[in-house]
């Protein structure tokens, strides 16, 4: 039995999700099915915290250590917050199949957890596929809306290509080393290892939406129902970053000279292209999508600037946590405003229609821009950029800081529209209590993680130390 313990959160989710398929009328309404989903994820999150680090599990394809526990908990909490926030507005999104909707969401989270806990490449790949397949369907959940189906198809086709890259990278790795375990690369691997690394990076960069593999991001973020976007923007990012850290650090022994160059280019491209493209957007969802590309670029700094100093990697993890709070919050607000709220026009004068939403949204956008009083973003940048400087990556740090100054130009537009422009309609936005709770939690996190970041700083340093343990 103890050998099964590491599987507990994953088993809870996968077995629990079967409940949707056998429950018949019981889980038909939005209320009961969302409550069931919340309960499942809550149990999974609880079990994630309770896992004991063990080495037995390696043989079963999963590994439990403080790194996987941290990311697993982050993914669960993110999923929980996004489901709680959007459960009230899902009804308005005209999603015909609510039971399947929550089933798919739980399946996707389950896949994400497998990605996080995986200790060999095959398990990792299975996790990626489970998480992605469920998401492809979720993106098209709004069957009556063309953009939703388009997003689904686009995500599916591009996702398949990225999976192919990933799979081929894994095959090459197997060819080079003769094992599928995610562990140190033998020094004899040579050229094949480089090619394998490149293929895997391409595959994961697709999932993360890093430039130049970001073409699906704006269309999918915009076309998918906002509730799905909320879920995806956090959970998939967390899982894919966990996979990326694992692949690059545990297997490929970063830093080495050929890989850092590749990652540097990806990071710089993601920051710059993401920010430049976001400048042009009028759709808030597209704006946030491009901003997520840029933000993922910032988080890459931790990998590029890595010099065996856990604090640099820890800064990326810290930033990921604060980013999750901001992005869940921002999309939840958007979802609370209305099922089709997307254009900047829809947010005009929001402060008159719902002061709570407008103020929280302002906090999230200030956090994304790295401005006070949302200190989590600012402290994340302090940590990240000082890490880059400490490793001597001056060029990267300068590009990043100029990018974050540039980003203020478009982050400013959303709060400006909400606070300073007259509303198009006077109708008040009614916010469900669960959305209030979830958005408030995100807002408190965005401010609180900056005002009192010590516990999180300690935690992420421990996480980074595990990753770098050789």
């Amino acid at each position: 039995m103890s050998a099964l313990a590491p599987f507990a959160p994953i088993l809870t989710l996968s077995l629990g999700s079967l409940g949707y398929l056998v429950s018949g009328k019981l889980l038909e309404s939005n209320k009961s099915s969302s409550l069931f989903a919340m309960a499942l994820i809550g149990i999974a999150a609880y079990l994630t915290f309770g896992l004991v680090p063990s080495s037995i599990a390696i043989e079963h394809g999963l590994i439990v250590n403080s790194f996987t526990r941290f990311f697993g908990a982050l993914a669960c909490i993110g999923a929980l917050l996004s489901i709680v926030a959007t459960s009230g507005s899902v009804g308005g999104e005209k999603i015909g199949m609510l039971r399947e909707y929550y089933f798919l969401m739980i399946t996707s989270l389950c896949g994400a957890l497998v990605m996080i806990y995986a200790s060999d490449f095959l398990t990792l790949f299975i996790g990626i596929e489970v998480a992605s397949l469920a998401l492809y369907c979720l993106c098209g959940a709004q069957v009556t809306k063309r953009a939703s189906s388009e997003a689904s198809l686009k995500y599916f086709l591009l996702g398949c290509v990225s999976s192919a890259f990933m799979l081929y990278g894994i095959a090459l790795w197997y060819g080079a080393t003769g094992t599928l375990m995610i562990s140190k690369i033998p020094s004899s691997a040579g050229t094949i290892a480089i090619v394998s690394f490149l293929f895997m990076i391409v595959g994961l960069a697709f999932k993360l939406g890093l430039a130049p593999f970001h073409f699906w991001v704006p269309d999918v973020y915009q076309g998918a129902p906002t509730s799905v976007t909320t879920f995806m923007s956090c959970v998939i990012k967390v899982a894919a970053f966990a996979a990326l850290f694992k692949v690059t650090l545990s297997a490929f022994f970063l830093p080495n000279e050929w890989s850092v160059g590749v990652l540097w280019v990806i990071a710089v491209l993601a920051m710059t292209i993401g920010n430049l493209a976001a400048l042009q957007q009028r759709s808030v969802k597209r704006l946030l999508a491009y901003s997520s590309v840029a933000q993922a670029g910032y988080m890459m700094i931790g990998l590029v600037a890595l010099q065996n100093d856990p604090s640099v990697l820890a800064s990326s993890v810290f930033y990921l946590v604060s980013y999750c709070a901001m992005t869940i919050g921002a999309f939840s607000v958007l979802s609370a405003v209305g099922p089709d709220a997307d254009d900047l026009q829809d947010l005009k004068g929001l402060v008159k229609r719902s002061p709570f939403l407008a103020i929280c949204m302002t906090l999230f956008f200030l956090g994304l821009a790295g401005l006070p009083p949302s200190l989590a973003g600012l402290m994340g940048k302090v940590y990240l950029f000082s890490g880059a400087l400490a490793s001597g990556c001056y060029g990267l740090a300068i590009v990043a800081v100029l990018n974050s100054a540039l980003a203020c130009a478009y982050y400013f537009r959303v709060p400006a529209a909400m606070l300073f422009q007259p509303p198009a309609t006077e109708i008040r936005v009614s916010v469900t209590p669960q959305a209030v709770v979830s958005i408030a939690v995100c807002a408190i996190a965005v401010v609180g993680l900056g005002v009192y970041p010590e516990p999180l700083l300690k935690a992420v340093e421990a996480v980074a130390a595990v990753l770098l343990a050789r």
């Binding site: 100093d309 006070p372 402290m379 940048k381 302090v382 203020c408 130009a409 400006a416 970041p453």
Partner: protein, 516 residues
């Protein structure tokens, strides 16, 4: 005497709490339709802040010969070496005093934007709290937080109650400032890391404490130059110095009068303050070597600002460009290697803050009442609004630095001090003095005397009551500091040599009794 209550934080906490208090339900539009209650509350808060500041300074200097130096330090984020460290010395005191006075004046000023209620006072108090924080912080990251944050209430007030193109102006202001401070942000982090470089990998040794960083002398000359330029860029944009003033005309044209006064009097001063507070101790070699260039920028700002101001038709644009011109003097003084000129710079910055706020507020009231803002449509106002005309005269002659006004003392000290180091730039700035007199007095004559224009409405309420009291108080400060500058000068100069100690600025001829 042990004080349990955090003494320096209270300067930040009191206005911040006051700002929060403005959101209380009994200040809402329903209970308080004219904003009278919230105005009274905010005036009370602003007065309380001023009193606390005065009491703190008095308490610290009560012993004869003691130098003002109060400190409050507690750890904030030890893992990143960021501390919550505030310090009040003579230099900070001058600017905190200015902040408290100007905030009180702007809050108590009766004319506010039409639709503004408690939110107006809330943002102003918040602005006061954050500017205070910027003037008190000695931890670089803490300073950066305040430096960025103080922009937000100003932007908010501007975007809510500004002119027709207010959103564009606000965006421009934000982007300029962010672009300027981005590289400073990076430089701060680099400094913090260098301070730690003796023990690589130990993050706990990070420190952003200014005295700590300065005493370590971490930088070689080329590093000093790169980081110095990054810092200078941020402060040059904030001040602003030509050619980094692109945001300024739009901001002052579109902002409500109170916000324009607040920005001109306080936000720009943070740049001046920070050059002396942070740049001299951190980059002494750079400041000495780049001194001629910085002085040149200052002198060019003086002349350029004056020339452009002469060409303006809009009163507020004129005030905006005249600010560039006057602050150019301060920059010139800060770059020269003389503690006399530095003291003069701070003194002039103080005096300019008072004068420019008074001018913005008074002209703002006239503009609002007459409904026009360029000189061509105004004239003969001295007959319509004699009291305003009187006050405007006082502040206009103070602005051109007539003897017996505070600006005279400041400009005189700057010119005296910088003459030895940069005679060429000082003479250039002297031309600016003349030009300044020309445009200021022309503007005054055009609007106040001359024939009444057809479009000038004959009816106009003059300044009275509370506003007259405010202007009287400000005028009294300007004249009192012009006649008896000794006390403030001593306070400032007690802190100045310490700032520039690293660069061996030796001519400490601003001893006791120099001014008296």
């Amino acid at each position: 005497m042990p004080i349990a209550w955090p003494p320096l934080s209270s300067l930040i906490i009191i206005p911040a709490v006051g700002a929060l208090g403005c959101c209380a339900p009994f200040f809402s539009k329903k209970m308080d339709p004219n904003g009278k209650l919230s105005r009274l509350w905010s005036i009370g808060i602003a007065i309380l802040t001023l009193v606390v500041l005065a009491a703190l300074a008095r308490g610290a200097t009560i012993a004869p010969g003691s130098v003002l130096a109060l400190e409050e330090a507690r750890s904030w984020i030890p893992s990143l070496g960021i501390s919550y460290h505030l310090e009040l010395d003579g230099l900070s005191f001058a600017f905190c005093l200015l902040t408290a006075i100007i905030s009180l004046a702007v809050i108590a000023w009766s004319a506010k934007p039409q639709s503004a209620g408690a939110g107006w006072y809330s943002l102003l108090l918040l602005g006061e709290a954050l500017v205070m924080g910027a003037f008190l912080a000695t931890d670089l990251v803490l300073f950066y937080v305040f430096f960025e944050a103080m922009l937000l209430p100003v932007l908010g007030a501007m975007a809510l109650w500004g002119g027709p193109k207010r959103l564009n102006a606000a965006l421009k202001f934000l982007v300029y400032t962010m672009a300027g401070s981005a590289l400073m942000f990076l430089s701060i982090l680099y400094l913090g890391w260098l301070g730690n470089s003796s023990a690589p990998g130990v993050v706990d040794a990070f420190s952003f404490e200014i005295t700590n960083l300065a005493s370590k002398r971490l930088l070689n000359n080329s590093q000093e130059m790169i980081l110095g330029i990054a810092f200078l860029l941020a402060f040059a944009i904030k001040t602003p110095i030509v050619p980094f003033h692109g945001w300024l005309p739009d901001t002052y044209r579109e902002a409500p009068h109170g916000v324009a006064a607040f920005t001109a009097a306080l936000l720009g001063k943070v740049g001046i303050y920070a050059i002396l507070r942070f740049m001299w101790p951190l980059f002494p070699t750079f400041m000495v070597e780049a001194g001629p260039y910085i002085a040149a920028l200052g002198a060019v700002s003086v002349v350029f600002g004056a020339l452009v101001a002469m060409a303006q038709r809009d009163i507020r644009s004129l005030l905006a460009y005249s600010s560039i011109s006057h602050l150019g003097f301060c920059v010139l003084g800060l770059a020269s290697l003389s503690s006399m000129a530095m003291t003069g710079s701070i003194f002039l910055a103080f005096s300019h803050g008072i004068i420019t706020a008074a001018l913005f507020l008074t002209f703002g009231m006239i503009i609002d009442r007459q409904g026009v803002r360029d000189f061509d449509s105004l004239g003969g106002l001295a007959k319509v609004v004699p009291v305003s005309a009187f006050f405007l005269m006082v502040f206009s002659v103070a602005a051109v630095a007539l003897p017996l006004t505070s600006s005279f003392v400041g400009e005189f000290l700057i010119l005296m001090g910088s003459w030895k180091a940069f005679p060429q730039w000082t003479s250039l700035a002297l031309i600016g003095v003349v030009l300044g007199a020309v445009y200021t007095l022309t503007a005054y004559l055009k609007t106040m005397f001359g024939g009444m224009r057809a479009s000038t409405p004959a009816l106009g309420r003059d300044i009275r009551g509370c506003d007259a009291m405010i202007l009287t108080a400000l005028a009294a400060i300007v004249v009192a500091l012009g006649v008896f500058p000794g006390r403030l000068l001593d306070t400032i100069s007690s802190a100045v040599p310490m700032q520039a100690a690293g660069s061996e600025v030796a001519d400490n001829n601003l001893g006791q009794g120099f001014v008296r």
